[in-house]
Structure formats: C-alpha cells, structure tokens
C-alpha cells in the first residue's frame, strides 16, 4: 500500500506486568506519521520509548500491547511473527539508540558489524559491502573511513560512535528512522552536530523521522510536529521548526520554564507543579 502512512497507531495501550499490579506505560496513544519529522517529547516514564519499542517489536515479554491499529505502511504489526520482525527491523525501520557504544557489539570491529548489516539487508558481497560501509561513514562526515572500520567501538569517542551508528542504521535504506534520545549522552556541541546530520540525511533520503527526547527546546528546531507526552498520553501537539514554541498545556509550559535561562540565573528556577487533572 504505497499511500498508507509510514506509521499508523490508533489507541495504543501498553501494560507492564509487575509483581504488585500491572503498570500502564501507554494509555490510548494515537499517531499517524507520513514522510515527516516528528518529535516525541516527555519525561522518563511518560511512555515515549515504550511506544517506539512497540513499533519495533522490541518490548520485553512482560509487556502486553493492545491497539486498535498498529501498522507500518499498511502492514499490521500486531502479533507479527519474530521472523517477519527481523525482515522489518533495520531494513525498513531503523533505530539509533542513546548510547552508541551499547548499540554496538564490543567484540567485533565496526567494519564487521556494518558488513553484517549490509550483507543481510542489501544482499551485497563482502567486498561491495566494505566499499559501501566506507561510503556511508564518509557520508556521516567521518574523515578516515577505512581506518575507523578497522576499529572497535571502545576506540571511538561518543560523537564518532554515534555517527557510525547513524551510518549503520542508514545502511539498510530504511523508510523510517527512529532516534531514541540519540544525543542525550553527548556534549552540547556534538548534540547539535548529530541532530543536523540526522536532519540532512532524512531530507536527502526522503525518510520519515521520529525524534524521541526529553529536551523540548533541543528538538523543536529539527521537527515538523512535536507530540508532548505525559503519563502515557499525548497531552499536546505543537508545530516545530522554530524555537518560539506556543504551548497551551500547563505541563508543556512548565517544562519550558524549568530550563535555566539568563533570566533565571542566580535565582530559584520555577519548578513543575503537577496537577492530578493532567492524568485524566
């Protein structure tokens, strides 16, 4: 179905079984994603990562997923067999995780890992895969690709490892890229560089992008739309592409005010007062 949205989620509920009682991580989330850049912003435990893991079939066995609809390009993802998931992940939907050095296997060189990806998903020969891997690393602005391919993840800086991770995730030529806190472990200068790099690649390749973050002001500039999540629900949708956001929901307004700015320097920061009504 070429006209179907990239990702179509309707009334998603995710519950985690715990010894005490089930915990509702996501409570009735709906979203439709086209070829656009969507940011999902929320605090720890708001359900943003759980939602993305449901879309990738990566939730643990203790999670139960219920939804009216959970589909990628019209293909139903609910109850998909493990084998079908493997053909989807990496090839059609790829995810860049927070800590690149955890996303890589420490015991194989970067080259070995990228080649595995290219041979599996793109059916290249090993020689062609090596050349493609070099080209991919050059594309993410790594200066000496053939040298870096021979290195192991621990030999790379955080920023370099994240660039390599993005290159590897783009190698499968996915239609949808999910960046789950992809810049949270990096310093602020590198954060901007990595977001700009993701942005360039997404535009050039016409992919859909979902940026997951807890930093609203950081991702606002790199997203067309922003969904603000609180306690498992979307509480507000904002138009992105600008630093001048116009939030209406008190949670979103509170989030923006908590951030230190020259106006707050040396004074007490406003703190978020949580209204039980936000849970309703």
């Amino acid at each position: 179905m070429p006209d179907a949205p990239l990702l179509d989620i309707a009334d998603l509920h995710i519950n985690f079984a715990t010894p005490a009682s089930p915990v509702a991580a996501v409570r009735g989330l709906s979203l439709t994603l086209g070829q656009e850049r969507l940011a999902i912003v929320g605090e720890s435990g708001s359900g943003k990562s759980a939602t993305m893991r449901a879309a990738l079939g990566l939730l643990p066995a203790t999670a139960s997923v219920k939804a009216q609809r959970l589909a990628f390009r019209g293909q139903n993802l609910l109850g998909l067999a493990p084998k079908r998931w493997r053909t989807l992940r990496g090839r059609h939907i790829a995810m860049v995780v927070q800590d690149p050095r955890q996303g890589f296997t420490p015991v194989h060189s970067l080259g070995a890992q990228m080649i595995e990806m290219l041979v599996r998903h793109r059916a290249l020969t090993r020689r062609a895969a090596w050349r493609e891997a070099e080209a991919m690393l050059a594309e993410v602005q790594i200066r000496d690709p053939s040298q870096v391919l021979r290195q192991y993840p621990h030999e790379l800086s955080g920023g370099m490892a994240q660039r390599a991770m993005i290159a590897m995730m783009l190698a499968g030529e996915p239609a949808l890229l999910i960046a789950d806190e992809a810049t949270s472990a990096l310093d602020v200068v590198v954060q901007q560089q990595i977001l700009a790099l993701i942005d360039t690649q997404v535009r050039r390749r016409g992919m859909g992008l979902i940026l997951i973050s807890h930093q609203l002001d950081l991702v606002a500039r790199f997203a067309d739309r922003i969904l603000v999540m609180y306690a498992g629900r979307v509480v507000e949708e904002l138009r992105g592409g600008t630093a001048a956001l116009q939030p209406v929901h008190p949670y979103t307004i509170g989030l923006l005010h908590c951030r230190p700015t020259p106006a707050s320097f040396g004074r007490a920061l406003p703190v978020l007062t949580r209204d039980p009504a936000w849970l309703a």
């Binding site: 605090e43 720890s44 800086s157 955080g158 920023g159 990096l186 310093d187 602020v188 200068v189 590198v190 954060q191 901007q192 807890h214 930093q215 609203l216 002001d217 630093a243 001048a244 956001l245 116009q246 008190p250 307004i253 509170g254 989030l255 923006l256 005010h257 908590c258 951030r259 230190p260 700015t261 020259p262 106006a263 707050s264 320097f265 040396g266 007490a268 920061l269 406003p270 703190v271 978020l272």
Partner: protein, 256 residues
C-alpha cells in the same frame, strides 16, 4: 556575612597524567566560601579529571590543592577527605546497589567516627527534601532525582566545606534538574559551601555559578563572569561553540 579574603579552596598549577599524556596541564583557580565556580568544556577536555584530582581520586603529577590555606597531602588522609566531597553524574553507579539508603548514608559516618548516626541521617534527609521512608529503600527503587538527592545527602553528612559536582543533573529530566539545582543553590547559601561544578551545559553553569572557567586540551583557556556569559562576551572558539549550542538566548515565552 563577612567577606573572607583567603579563598576556601585554592588549586595551583595542577597537572594530571594518564601514562605519558598530560590530561590536565597546570590548572590554577580559587573559590571563596559561599562561591561557586563552573568548569565547562567539550568531552575529553579534562574537566572531569581535574575535578577528580581536586577530590584526591586520581594522583597528581604536579601542583597542589589547598583548603583553608592548608595544602592537602598525597595520598589524602581521612580528615582531608572530609573537607571535599564529590557528587557524580550517574547516581545509580555511585550508590552500592546491595545497601539500603540508610546503610549507604551510615557508611561515611562510621568511617569518620561521627556519632548520632540516626539523627544525622534523619536531618540530612530533611535537608535534601527526601521523606524518611527512603531509608528502607534500595537505590533501584528510587527515581533518578531521588537518587541524586541521596548522593547529595551522603556528601553533606561529613560536613564538608567544598562540594565538587560532576555533571550532577545531566542524567535527569529537565523538571527534575530544576528541583535539584534549586536544592544545591539553597544548600550553598545555607551552609556557606564552596562549589566547583563541572558541566558541558552553559545554561546550568550560568544558573549556578558566578564565575566560569572554560577548559580545552587540559588547560583553562578562558574565564568569564556570569555577566560576561549572559552578554556572550567570549573570545575563545570553544566558548563560542558552547554558547552557540547550549545557551538559550531568552526567546522562550516565560509568561503563562
């Protein structure tokens, strides 16, 4: 409050080596009681190593650290360690996962032979805004913000003069960061502590510190006052890059 002329913490020509490489090269700074110095820089500039060296956690190859004009020896002795306490970025890694919070908090008291452990723990939990019930919890049962409060409480228990803060809020949500930064500011004011705060986030440093030092390649390349920071009066390219990436210019709507 009377102004103290002699600095509380004074660091002179401090150098740290990793093998043959000097990761901190001849760094000097001073912090008065009740003052707060921010140290900023990109990953790998040596800012965390500097903080660890000041704390006595990594050996120094040259220079000295003095508190109240008393030069601290290497290796440090117990009474020196008590003067300077450190709070790390990752609170889960900083707390022993097999100990309850009460047991973790009693450890420094036992080491320094401070009596009244029960009362001291109760008081410090109040001071950092934690309910007494957290005593019986394990680190993994607390939220990230609560755990960082426990780490701050543990640092305060031995009544230090200097608190060394290594990215204390980088692992926290923005709303929780605001609460922890407010707590740290209150404690500094109430207890007259000196802070050295390491961060890559200029907004956090501007919030907390009147002075900041920018590090690159193991040395301090520029120092700024808060006023200069707000005016973006920086010269070094590293400072400019940090300003461009991480300082809100104030165009965020602040009125509800």
């Amino acid at each position: 409050m009377a102004r103290v002329t002699a600095p509380l913490l004074s660091v002179q020509d401090l150098s740290v080596a990793h093998g043959q490489v000097l990761t901190v090269r001849g760094v000097s700074f001073a912090v008065a009681a009740g003052a707060s110095l921010g140290i900023v820089g990109e990953s790998g500039c040596g800012k965390s190593t500097l903080l660890r060296a000041v704390a006595g956690l990594v050996p120094i190859v040259a220079g000295q650290v003095a508190v109240l004009e008393q030069v601290l020896p290497t290796p440090r002795q117990k009474q020196h360690r008590r003067l300077l306490q450190i709070v790390f970025q990752d609170s889960l890694a900083a707390l022993n996962p097999t100990l309850t919070i009460a047991a973790s908090l009693r450890e420094p008291l036992a080491i320094h032979r401070l009596g009244d452990a029960g009362q001291r723990v109760a008081r410090v939990l109040d001071a950092v805004g934690l309910p007494q019930a957290v005593r019986f919890r394990f680190p993994h049962q607390l939220s990230g913000g609560q755990r960082q409060r426990v780490c701050i409480a543990r640092a305060l228990l031995v009544e230090p003069r200097v608190l060394l803060l290594d990215e204390p809020t980088s692992a926290l949500d923005i709303s929780v960061q605001a609460e922890v930064l407010n707590l740290l500011a209150e404690l500094r004011r109430d207890l007259g502590l000196a802070y050295v705060l390491v961060s890559h986030d200029l907004a956090v440093v501007g919030q907390m510190c009147e002075q900041l030092a920018v590090m690159a390649g193991g040395t301090i390349v520029e120092t700024l006052t808060r006023t200069q920071l707000v005016a973006r009066a920086a010269h070094h390219p590293v400072t400019r890059a940090l300003l461009a990436a991480g300082m809100p210019s104030g165009d965020i709507p602040r009125e509800i």
